[in-house]
Symmetry: C2
Subunit: 426 residues, 2 copies
């Protein structure tokens, strides 16, 4: 306990300082926090160690962060861009599986292991993008809504892929019965979500207000958040999905502002910095130099496959070039789901010890780079008001007349070259 209190205190001091440096230099604050974890963790100085307590706080950090993401997200926008989000998510899974799986075969992995590595890198962890979008005040834009929607869809696809892969590995065939069960659970979860968002949460929030308990509104919001996070974990989804929908549910009540005001310091003071620093703390240094090429190639592909895959998906859904790139970069971060998948591959002997820690390291690296790309992409994208202005009346995903032709050509060039790399091996 004393060690944890000291660690928590040190993390808050260091992230406060790193935050100040990042604001001065224009870097995303999230990057500073991850770097704090890498520098003070086992990888460099070894002054802090990940523990079950930091892990617990980090997981609650994801829940709080995604909950606030949901509170800040515009449900109207999310609905309007749900079809776009689905296309983005699908393309964002197909590209890494094909390209990174293919390149893994070039590195000498067999078909199954290669496919597995592809699946590992197909899982997006959007909590990092949520932090960057919040910092930039762009959460409730069409790009923000598309990224959040796509991340949810990505999680659903990820769970299905993971269960296909793990039954394939352990039994050599796919159990359609098991897949049906998973699908059924998820349908039940989303049906429950609709009920909670439309009726249960607004009613509960009003009930909490009537109780007039101190912090009653905040406590009820926390209850809804934890309950939904728990339910999503029950059906195999990450906590993030449940917490996100809980945030949306609460945001539809009359107490949106108050919840945001009350819950934000909870995340900022205790849980969220621990989540980002934990990513750094859990990064394992790779000492074997012959793996460096693998890391470099996979990191570059980890970034490119999402920018191109999801960006292309966004283009197909009618976004213009700039918006597509924002959406693509917003889908770069990998997190819990990728780590869990890699862990399963390791425990089922698909990945050797060496390659397991290499892949963990690559996941951290991609996640560290992601906010830099997103911030740069946001810099070029139209601001919130402009976007809201030019969208106003439309109700379907738009096919926009776009002026930023250069961007699309860039994106398409990147795309063909990436596919070109993968083609001979896929």
């Amino acid at each position: 306990m004393a060690v944890f209190v000291a660690t928590l205190c040190a993390i808050l001091v260091l992230t406060m300082l790193s935050g100040a440096i990042c604001r001065k230099t224009g870097l995303p604050e999230v990057v500073g926090q991850i770097v704090v974890g890498i520098v003070f963790g086992p990888t460099v100085l070894g002054l802090m160690q990940p523990s079950s307590s930091t892990e617990l706080f980090s997981n609650i950090g994801i829940i709080v962060l995604m909950f606030l993401g949901g509170v800040g997200c515009d449900l109207g926008l999310l609905k309007r861009y749900s079809k776009a989000a689905l296309i983005v998510a699908c393309m964002g899974v197909v590209a890494p599986v094909l390209i990174m799986g293919g390149v893994s075969m070039v590195f000498g992995f067999d078909l199954m292991s290669s496919l597995f590595i592809g699946v590992v890198f197909s899982a997006t962890s959007v909590s990092i993008s949520v932090a960057v979008l919040k910092e930039a005040g762009r959460l409730d834009t069409k790009e923000g809504a598309s990224i959040l929607g796509a991340a949810v869809a990505d999680d659903v696809i990820g769970v299905i892929l993971l269960s296909i892969m793990s039954t394939l590995i352990s039994t050599g065939s796919v159990s359609f019965q098991q897949l049906g069960l998973i699908a059924l659970k998820q349908v039940a979860f989303f049906a429950l979500t609709v009920v909670v968002v439309l009726w249960v949460a607004p009613w509960l929030m009003t009930f909490a207000a009537l109780l007039k308990a101190p912090s009653g509104i905040a406590i009820m919001a926390t209850i809804i958040c934890l309950a939904m996070a728990w339910c999503s974990e029950l059906v195999g989804l990450s906590y993030a999905v449940g917490a996100f929908f809980a945030g949306i549910a609460v945001s539809r009540s009359d107490y949106r502002k108050q919840v945001d005001r009350d819950i934000e310091p909870i995340g900022d003071c205790f849980f969220v910095p621990l989540f980002f620093v934990s990513i750094g703390l859990n990064t394992e240094a790779v000492h074997d130099m012959h793996l460096v090429w693998f890391i470099v190639v996979m990191t570059v592909l980890g970034v490119i496959t999402k920018i191109v895959g999801c960006g292309l998906g966004a283009r197909m859904a009618g976004f213009n070039g700039r918006s597509s790139i924002v959406i693509g970069t917003g889908m770069i971060p990998r997190g819990e789901m990728a780590l869990i998948t890699a862990q399963i591959g390791f425990s089922q002997h698909i990945l050797s010890d060496d390659y397991y820690s290499t892949i963990i390291f690559t996941i951290s690296l991609v996640t560290l780079i992601a906010p830099l790309f997103l911030k740069a992409a946001l810099h070029g994208a139209p601001a919130k008001d402009e976007a809201a202005g030019d969208e106003g009346a439309k109700t379907e995903a738009p096919i926009e007349a776009d002026s930023a032709t250069a961007d699309i050509i860039d994106a398409q060039t990147a795309d063909t070259s990436a596919v070109g790399m993968a083609a001979p091996v896929a």
Copy 2:
């Protein structure tokens, strides 16, 4: 993790309901929360189990609660009543050690074990009283300040007594060198506290405001709170003492209101309910009927020795009868320090397995009863404004002309009878 998320969620739901019931029936909410822990924990239904995670959150709950106690406490009042607090604390240690130690000898314990049981019951855990005083809006009254000051002094005395007892048990004699070291550490801690309260904390809060980071003020307050809690733990005091002074330090800055506004939901939504429910969860049922008398007697004495001991101390310091009873009842709760002391006694074979769990049960029982007494006592005591009005200009602990003579006679009668009980065996 999933179990903890579900437990946390269930605890919030149950404490919200118990809180509503307590407000309706006029019971202190803290009692409702402890009862939730007893009913749903291993003692009755067994639906929830204490775990390392609930323990961690519970400990941070104490820190947050005492920090908010410090923020809400009036430093001027605390200073003015510091001498009174010292007398209250001393009397509150002497009474349980003599009386409960004496009665333990009647129950057949040898001198050392009896003395040890007396020491166990001499340690006050004021966090429960802080919650009750906050609920009643009486934290910044002369009684509130005296209770808080006495609790700090009690903790200091407790640490010294505990170290005397444990060296006495293990070596058979008292090491004055070790005692000197402990005293030195504590002096260093209190010197540091003065520096932090007067200069460091106000400067840090202003610095945080200049950084203009989101939640910057709340994060800096948390940093000061955790750092001071950690320091107090380093010198052997409980976290509560450091957190309390951190609260006082922060309250002297210009951001007192904002800190209170930001940190309160953190405690209410995550940590504080877990602290109170944990007390219930960690209560062990006692099945051996011949121990029932021991429990009954010790519980009654646990309550009486503090009301009379501390109440008498308060009278000696010049408080009137009503105020003395409020102060005495405010010192009833036992907590961490008592549990730790009992734990040491158990591990050093001073207490048998049977009597160890019996004493743990008695500590819980006394702590459960305490808020009921305090609320009743507060009901009879003058309200905050009145008290502030009649104190106004005085700078020393007052020798008040008191009208509530009946109360004093009551208290004195209770006192003499209690001492009478103890005299033949002490």
